[in-house]
Symmetry: C3
Subunit: 472 residues, 3 copies
Amino acid sequence: MEKYSSSPIPLVEDAPNKKQTVCIFGTGDFGRSLGQKMMQCGYSIVFGSRNPQDSSLIPPGATVLPHAEAAEMSDIIILAIHRTCYNFLETLKEMLSGKVLVDVSNNLKINQYPQTNAEYLAQLIPESKVVKAFNSVSAWALQSGALDASRQVFVCGNDSKSKEKVMDIVRSLGLTPLDKGSLLATKEIEDYPLQLFPMWKYPIYLSLAISAFFFFYSVIRDIVYNYVVKNKDFSFFIAISIPNRVCPIVALILLALVYLPGIFAAILQLYRGTKYRRFPDWLDKWMLCRKQLGLVALAFAFLHVLYTLVIPIRYYVRWRLNSYVLQQAFNNKTDPFNTVQGWISDSYVALGILGFFLFVLLGITSLPSVSNSVNWREFRFVQSYLGYLTLVLCTAHTLVYGGKRFLHVRSYPWGLPAAYILSLIIPCIVLVIKFVLILPCIDRPLTAIRQGWERKPKHVCEPYNNLSRSSV
Amino acid sequence: MEKYSSSPIPLVEDAPNKKQTVCIFGTGDFGRSLGQKMMQCGYSIVFGSRNPQDSSLIPPGATVLPHAEAAEMSDIIILAIHRTCYNFLETLKEMLSGKVLVDVSNNLKINQYPQTNAEYLAQLIPESKVVKAFNSVSAWALQSGALDASRQVFVCGNDSKSKEKVMDIVRSLGLTPLDKGSLLATKEIEDYPLQLFPMWKYPIYLSLAISAFFFFYSVIRDIVYNYVVKNKDFSFFIAISIPNRVCPIVALILLALVYLPGIFAAILQLYRGTKYRRFPDWLDKWMLCRKQLGLVALAFAFLHVLYTLVIPIRYYVRWRLNSYVLQQAFNNKTDPFNTVQGWISDSYVALGILGFFLFVLLGITSLPSVSNSVNWREFRFVQSYLGYLTLVLCTAHTLVYGGKRFLHVRSYPWGLPAAYILSLIIPCIVLVIKFVLILPCIDRPLTAIRQGWERKPKHVCEPYNNLSRSSV
Amino acid sequence: MEKYSSSPIPLVEDAPNKKQTVCIFGTGDFGRSLGQKMMQCGYSIVFGSRNPQDSSLIPPGATVLPHAEAAEMSDIIILAIHRTCYNFLETLKEMLSGKVLVDVSNNLKINQYPQTNAEYLAQLIPESKVVKAFNSVSAWALQSGALDASRQVFVCGNDSKSKEKVMDIVRSLGLTPLDKGSLLATKEIEDYPLQLFPMWKYPIYLSLAISAFFFFYSVIRDIVYNYVVKNKDFSFFIAISIPNRVCPIVALILLALVYLPGIFAAILQLYRGTKYRRFPDWLDKWMLCRKQLGLVALAFAFLHVLYTLVIPIRYYVRWRLNSYVLQQAFNNKTDPFNTVQGWISDSYVALGILGFFLFVLLGITSLPSVSNSVNWREFRFVQSYLGYLTLVLCTAHTLVYGGKRFLHVRSYPWGLPAAYILSLIIPCIVLVIKFVLILPCIDRPLTAIRQGWERKPKHVCEPYNNLSRSSV
């Protein structure tokens, strides 16, 4: 087991003098799991329980005592009980005075109580040193050792000595403590394990809504139309052809939506003449989920690439190409090579490849460990310049793709324009306005506003406007 | 050189008063390399040596003195000597008392000694403050500045002031200290540099064994059979056709093996009626390398995608398609389009694309920096729900792929079933049992067991069973 | 807004007693942005200004006072003013004594002053405790909350208590403090935000130069030659065909250039007989940007893969394949299958796939979070063994690709060899020399040199040459 175990400290049965005694209040699932794990890592555990006789589930080797007696055994008391039971701790007030109380509790939903659990505890027993920790760790993970997920344990507390003691326990369990400062951070820490991708919700819902719209639009335009008007069954288009039409459209629209709020912000700042007024709430929210929007767009672009690359191995495509060749063979003629079509076909594919390449690059720089290793100037270079270049390439890819079929009459069944034409609206608007914004006559006042400059500067020397980090 | 150097602190020749003197015992390769690097970063180095006269290899600028005299020059003594030589330090006992002894040593194999080197040192010179550090850094990396690999230096020690001093040295060399707590962590730290992907060993061996089996199975079934029975030479199938048959099979089996131990665990828990008894050792080990199994599976799936996408540019495939068209041309007939085959072909490709897409998503969330930024609930959502969805899609992909050829007689040369049929066994078993396990009548007791609940709860309030983090 | 905000601490208007007062000198853009953000996070802000009456731009809720009065209000003073204005602080010398001065300043270019700003400040007001922080944070990011980029804030200072206070402020703003040690680190910290991918400059310029050469070489050889000699217009080759020739060439050459400096270093060490002499400057620089060279090579390889996979959906390729089939149809004959060509076609594609697969694996292990989680031995295994295997596979891929056309006369228009032949020169040299270097008779002395061994070892025990981490 040893070489597979990710727990750094093995059982130190042979070093009894090293054992530190820690008290755990509560013999519920989490208390028992934590106690068992700590005992494996060389701690001596005393459980505090209301019914110390009924210790059937207690891990072997641990002691179970009434709360008051258990509390006397250790300077560190881990409270593995619900917030609703905290009030009984008041009866032990003087006994807990000066001790480290480790609050591991979570609530069932965000903002359940006005005060965080740890703050409530600190107010109940003001003489104790409350440290918040372990709340993002799962009992299951502790028991099974399946700590593939984050090994980070957020720790916060107002007393730095107590915090250090708890961080040592965290480390000895093979986990990584992350000091989040004072108890002010408990709000964040207690909300953390309850979240389920909060920043991703709107981008994903939005992408699903756009996908659904364009999916049904294409079904009507390509399958229903052909079935009703031409009596042909193209229902199998649902598997690949239509998804491969929907994916690039969603990717392009979402990519444009990444850059649209920046455009709005610039216009608003130009109109207001200052950057010190807050943006409307919807714009703030939008700007905060741009990264997620971009990554969802990348996912759709990736699907588009896969759907496109399998085209030649599809039975339908092979059959169509074969029919085309056989038709020429039976008619005893060869279609001549059309250089213009060669140009269009190759350049629209090449634009798509370059756009996707830059898009992947943007995605890689969004990885936390990569974006942490670039500075602000580098991040802006990648996300702003390369990002706009990606948008330009992808829009051009769609335009050249359309170039072939824009004017065909059969492109408008039932008067419906092709879906890709609709998808070009937002990207083109974004690119046109951005082009206007970077004209020198508009860029100059905007840059000035973003650097916080005033038209009649009074302070010659004092204001600190660092050029290298002021603009968007 | 400056702007390429990754060392943060340049030579501070002009600030002699800032130079701190550090003593290094031992003039071997590591001692000299570390000394040279520290001198470049502004430290003054005194080497302690048994033969101080023979200082030919000492970096210029450093002093070499006998051990006792060298030890007097500094509060921090870095021991760049082998553990087997530590006993001579006992002769310097009173001189080393109160000083920081930095143990940088490694052993040649894991578990070479019952005690770690640093613990042995701390026991030899109990009055000193032993700090373990630098043991994962390579002499070559220090010299060449080629620190592309990890810049992390694990530091541990019982005295936090001494640890802080050593961490300052680590930082000033451009490395990142990582506080691992007390000397209890030395076991982990000393084992660390000796490992060579310990968690990856079994998954990789297993994947190679499965690959080898299916490779030879396919060679017999496709090449040998055709050569012996039909006298056709398909030996070139070894390059692409057979690998493209083996890769998806291995990927699918490994992916199913990721979820099989969870199934076993659930059955065991249901049978035992408790989660507080330890799993058998093999199940524990299996559960701990699920992430690695999944990533190896992803690697094979990635190869399968590449092998599949190059199909249309292979000479053999082009020749076969051409022959098929020419045959129709010579017979003066066109095979009509088969809608059912269009559906099968497109849907099996589409299922594969979606499965691969989710698989890549799972792989990305396995990156350390990504998995560190999601909480337990989000990690479970991705790895459990999306993981099972991936398995369902990939199994369906294989089933629909097989749909076309399942009943052909020529699909069973020498009575051997196609390899993909064999590959479906484990995934189908996993999915069927999982389906049974999520039936409400079975899921309910299982969830209760996993939350540590008892049938007759006695403690109404105390036990802390947090719903948001109890189940698998 | 709450659930979208990434700031951990909400407005704590209801906890006025928790508010700590912090003083900010300077009402420029950065000062105001930081002040506003800190007020949102529960701090009380006093601005120190030369013109306290002119407080039009001050965020509402903050106080503005003359410098001396403002400084009295708080123990922590954030200096959001330019270095050039620091000298006025001397007039407040006794008032600032003992206080924490936070230097947030950046310069406009690297090495603008001999002394860093923070060191200059510490020298001006020696009785104060100078802490460097916040200089890598952008005013825009603070205001908009758009902290997608790095949330890391480098903090350094000589007084650890003061540093801890500043790190608490950093944490409470939702940012991650990174302790960089003493003020010696200010050089690195102040240079950091001014960099724009310094390590990437040469690899990218080099790759662009090689790309441009081979692009024009191929344009002449394929487009101009065909136009002049055969009067055929292949200008559309510029979009895909020629990039797909340039990309693999650049990727292969850059990959070989990753391993060339190691070869040079080995030869130099063998020639000198020691590893303790410094490499020439150009070799040092080269070795330090090997990772970047490799990643640029991977980018070109990725483009090559995309360009290759779209081949079958290009109009030109489809037309050419159709012509070929039609020609056979009109001549009423079928070209027989050529097993040798089947072997060559499949094996060169298979080699390319395996090479690219290993290349992607190398790229993934270069991600900071992945390379931080492997030890030196594992890193060397991947980057050295797998790296050379990648180079061997990619070189073999090119050789087998060429095998088909090496001896055709039409392969040398105007006597120009195909570009891929030129691209093979460096990789073959690297592989041949590396093969010589791993011959036992040469490897043995080289390994000895790299472990710092001498021919006549005098110290039997002392030198610490750890085998597990000495060689390249």
